[in-house]
Symmetry: C2
Subunit: 675 residues, 2 copies
């Protein structure tokens, strides 16, 4: 039961951390040596090149201009200054709309915070239920609880205030969502209409081309579209399985890089021709002239690539029953993408081609029937992953103890038995399996989405984001609210009546406010501040720069600009929306912490999008319906919980009003237009 003091201390620590991160960032970003870590976007755009100060050697690495340190917080107004149209031009619509999610958080929760502090806090504060129960039952309570709904006595008429507020918040959220949806739609349409001409605007992806004994896929596609779209068909490109070719091309690229490196080396020091070894990684084997060797290798690969290219064109195994079909007009492509092409609706499936960067090539050849089975398999797998992931993690944990390691690898025994190492291992091991699992979870979810057969990276990320949100909802939110693992909860929910579940959660919610406040500070505040510091890319860049970088191109590649990461970022924001909506009525004191998160994250991510992230694809904000839908579902969930809570507080007669309010939410769902 945390008091204001406890919260204050926690806030202090986290603010300290956040400020430390921000200051470290502000200083590090000014050093020329870090320029490629903190401004990679500009390098990739070709608008910035490696700093070439004319000053001393030191100034090539360290910024000695003291005036720039005075203005070390300048990045904030810089980040905010770029107007939205320019931002769209600079980083794409996806990024600009992604930032609007944070803005939406502010738009929803600033009025909610004002209203709840003006009305709900006084209503809760001016009761003495908790004091009384302290006197009679020795119930522990905190100052936070005094501001929450817990302080209102059983059956009090004051609960009507909470219900009216729940209505107000619901209407405000729905109104904001609706307006935002309209704005995003307009932005999307404007963006699509004003894009420059690109081939994918004229192109349709055709899948499930039926096998034909007499014709090749290419001939079949051509004849089909010449017959069915004679006026608009232009050309087509059959999808070819080019994994081997891709491998060869990659190899050639690497050899080319080595050649460049040796040539630069030779040009600097012409007295000695560089040599290399032909064996593994150039570490052993015959010593040869490096430039000659790499040139020969490149020639060999060029020939192999040409051969492979020829082979692919003729080998029927490489040709997939899918094709990109281009049309003379956008109208023709639009018609083809939206209409059914054959009597059998599972053949000749057409859809808009994603832009080339966005296509997930590996999935283009999955047949229609297999898709539905894959979807089913993944649905089942995800269910087990969500509720039973603790089982393998626990097994690994039980294996990964000192005795286990000694048994399996007896030769390590002398090292492990050293007391210091032993205590480190003992303190470190139990958590590591879970940590590793949580780190690889987004990758697992992406793999699941890939297995399901989505055709574009954007849709893969959207699907992975949905799953990550559900996983977080069950394993972060529910597990924190109700003690016990997800599996235990599933079991208890199955044995509980449907009426009881909202009550169980509702009762636990006010008690967990302090926990979630701490969570927001650690994960939200410090986490976001850590994001801007980019510690991992910073270290990796300098390591690579030191050990691996040979040519300018290598340095280019050593930059790891990263990207927004919709599949991990959006579910995190959604968790805050959920927490905010749930606590808006129950514990209004929670809302300002959320507000700080949204404001900080908005500034930080705006900065990152402008200066760091490299946009991997452009889906023109196709993710917005997902964002919209998840906020609505959080709203409905918050009301269910409030109903459960109310019914245990002797205000059950008021719950029908909340049901009505829940139905209101469905209205924007229905009003929701496809993007």
């Amino acid at each position: 039961m945390a008091t204001f003091g406890d919260i204050g201390v926690a806030a202090g620590i986290n603010i300290l951390f956040s400020v430390a991160f921000l200051v470290a960032f502000a200083i590090l970003r000014l050093q020329p040596i870090n320029d490629r870590v903190y401004f990679p976007k500009w390098y990739l755009k070709g608008l910035r090149s490696s700093p070439t100060h004319t000053g001393s050697f030191v100034s090539k690495f360290v910024n000695l201009d003291w005036r720039s340190y005075v203005r070390f917080l300048n990045w904030v107004p810089d980040a905010l200054r770029m107007p939205e149209p320019e931002l769209i031009d600079h980083a794409g619509l996806d990024s600009a709309v992604y930032l609007r999610i944070y803005l939406l958080g502010l738009k929803i929760f600033v009025p909610v915070a004002l209203l709840s502090w003006a009305i709900l806090v006084p209503v809760n504060w001016t009761n003495n239920t908790l004091e009384k129960s302290l006197a009679t039952d020795k119930v522990q309570y905190s100052d936070i609880d005094k501001l929450s709904i817990s302080n209102v006595p059983y059956g009090s008429l004051r609960f009507w205030t909470h219900i009216v507020m729940a209505y107000a918040f619901t209407f405000w959220t729905c109104y904001t969502l609706r307006k935002e949806y309209a704005t995003v739609t307009t932005m999307r349409l404007h963006f699509l209409a004003s894009e420059r001409r690109r081939p994918d605007q004229f192109t349709v992806l055709v899948r499930n081309v039926p096998p034909d004994p007499d014709e090749s896929v290419s001939e079949l596609v051509e004849h089909f579209f010449l017959v069915n779209h004679p006026d608009h068909y232009l050309t087509h490109q059959v999808v070819i399985n080019a994994n081997k070719l891709a491998k060869l091309v990659k190899e050639k690229k690497s050899k080319q890089n080595w050649l460049d490196y040796y040539q630069i080396k030779y040009s600097r020091n012409q007295s000695q021709r560089p040599v290399t070894k032909t064996g593994f990684l150039g570490l052993w084997g015959e010593t040869v002239d490096a430039i000659d060797y790499q040139t020969a290798e490149i020639e060999r690969l060029s020939k192999e690539i040409a051969e492979e290219r020829e082979r692919m064109k003729t080998d029927p195994k490489c040709i997939m029953p899918a094709a990109f079909v281009s049309f003379r007009t956008r109208w023709g492509a639009a018609v083809c993408a939206q209409t059914q092409q054959s009597r059998n609706p599972t053949l000749w499936l057409t859809e808009w081609a994603s832009e080339p960067r966005d296509v997930y090539w590996d999935n283009l050849a999955i047949p229609y029937v297999s898709l539905s089975i894959r979807r089913l398999v993944i649905a089942v797998a995800f269910f087990f992953l969500t509720f039973f992931f603790m089982i393998p993690v626990t097994i690994v944990q039980s294996l990964a103890n000192i005795e286990g390691i000694e048994k399996r690898a007896p030769f390590l025994k002398p090292i492990i038995e050293i007391p210091f190492i032993k205590s480190v291992i003992q303190g470190f091991l139990p958590g590591i399996a879970l940590k590793i699992f949580l780190i690889v979870l987004p990758t697992i979810l992406m793999m699941m989405a890939k297995f399901e057969g989505f055709l574009s990276i954007s849709s893969l990320e959207r699907r992975a984001a949905m799953r990550y949100y559900i996983f977080n909802f069950v394993n972060v939110f529910l597990v924190s609210v109700i003690a016990g693992t997800a599996f235990q909860q599933l079991d208890s929910f199955l044995h509980q009546s449907a009426n009881e579940i909202p009550k169980t959660i509702g009762v636990a919610i006010p008690m967990k406010a302090t926990f979630f406040i701490t969570y927001v500070m650690v994960d939200g505040w410090a986490g976001v501040a850590g994001e801007i510091l980019r510690l991992k890319p910073l270290i990796f860049f300098h390591l690579k720069n030191f050990f691996l970088v040979k040519t300018e191109k290598d340095r280019e590649e050593a930059m790891d600009p990263g990207s927004i990461g919709f599949n991990t970022g959006e579910p995190q924001i959604q968790l805050y929306f959920l927490l905010g909506l749930v606590y808006a009525v129950v514990t209004p004191v929670f809302i300002p912490f959320i507000l700080v998160f949204f404001a900080l994250a908005y500034v930080v991510f705006r900065h990152q999008i402008i200066n760091v992230y490299n946009q991997e694809y452009e889906s023109a904000a196709a993710f917005w319906p997902d964002v919209h839908g998840r906020i609505i579902s959080a709203l409905v969930f918050s009301q269910l919980i409030l109903m459960g809570l109310m019914s245990t507080k002797g205000a059950a007669q008021s719950t029908p009003f909340l049901i009505a309010s829940s139905f209101d939410n469905l209205v924007p769902y229905f009003l929701q237009r496809p993007l």
Copy 2:
């Protein structure tokens, strides 16, 4: 606890009734006077006209040819003889595919019956659980129960037989469904492709034409399609609110009918010109020459109709923001129907025009946003209708007692107080409110569907059928299985854990077998036999023929051929599918009763479709996905129940296998292709 004897008696009575109906039908249909009742389809097709026997006056009404009575069961082979392609030609694809639902029942349940009688009945029979429990606990049991799963002892390994059988039935059902779906798809496509040219094949319905201050709807539609579909647009017809015109036309038709009548009357008896009175129903008012009067009236109406027609063309209030747009080619129409027309996806909504008979004109002008709200309102209303309909019924019942009537209508007191009438009312009244409700229920459901804004009669009927099925599922199936009203069940389900619900139902299922056997015999056997007798149309036709029919046209209209009535018929079949699938494993003795129903209904409805029903519209079997989906959901439900039952019989370890089997069912769901 019914014994075989009880079932035998019930079966005997119902068979007697059914046979009586069939014999009555066989005799009545041979009478020329009933020809229009039992063969209206042929009259409507113009292939048959009123019997004009050259024999005696009596033979105009009664069939005196004794030979035809000998072959009185000939209608059965006659009904079965017509091959399917001819049936499609004669009665449309909807009717032919509707019959396939009964055939599907036979296809699924004949092998199920054979297997379950060969394997499950011996497995159940050779236990003595019930005998033992009779000895120890004095538990009552029946012979039916000896053949059911109840006779297998707790925790017996024999339950594996039931699980294997459940799997076998599931796979068989899924296989049959899949094959049938493919057949129906082929039939549908063949039907659509081989139809003669009709305007609706070239026509698209456009709704939500946005208002424009400068142009009329007609001009706007023309300009829009000339711009967007310049090569294919042909013409359009704006939808006009013509309710007043329809009324005038109907009035004119009635007057025309009277005129015909008087002219025939005059031509028969030229000595006296017929007269009529100008007042209400020709009962009072000034006496005038009938032929002159009607001619004048028709002239007046013709003029009014012309005026109304003119007014409608110009009055903007009559013009709805919807239009039928016709294209030069089917390709053009297909493209327009399947593509989005404007940036705002809620405007310029296009879809294939239904065939003219199928259009539900009243709903053409409902705006898009209102549609979603209507859907929500109806969803809520239907929920309350399903679970709380007993409340108003009970209120009406409590009002409709003798004292209530006497109080409200004291002048009736002397009549009511007569002992005989009093006892009739007392016996009759309590049930009447419920009966009336159940009779009007399909109408209520159709009204709900109309309110939701569907645009074709076929889709209205499909939606009403879905709701009727859910209503039957809750209020016939569940209410019969678990005692108590739907409302009480809802309450108990809400207070029960999700795990408990299948158990509660599963345990009750075997005990209700005899009840449902009786239900099948009454509702299925006797009901279907009653359908062929057409008692209501028979009586009404003769009443109308006697009192109202003046001209040949009137006689035409006095025929009430009726139609299949998808919205009531299909849910009834689905209830039998549900019962069959639920009892296939639990009480195999139930299946033959279902088989008799399917076989009898198939023959009867084939006869009715050939000879009686007048097809109201043709949707080309668009209802099949609904049929398919409901059978699948019945299958899943039957497995849930079996799992619940198994877990109470000490065979819980086997339920995971049933879960797997449940998932199997989802596969055909996913495989289900849109028609």
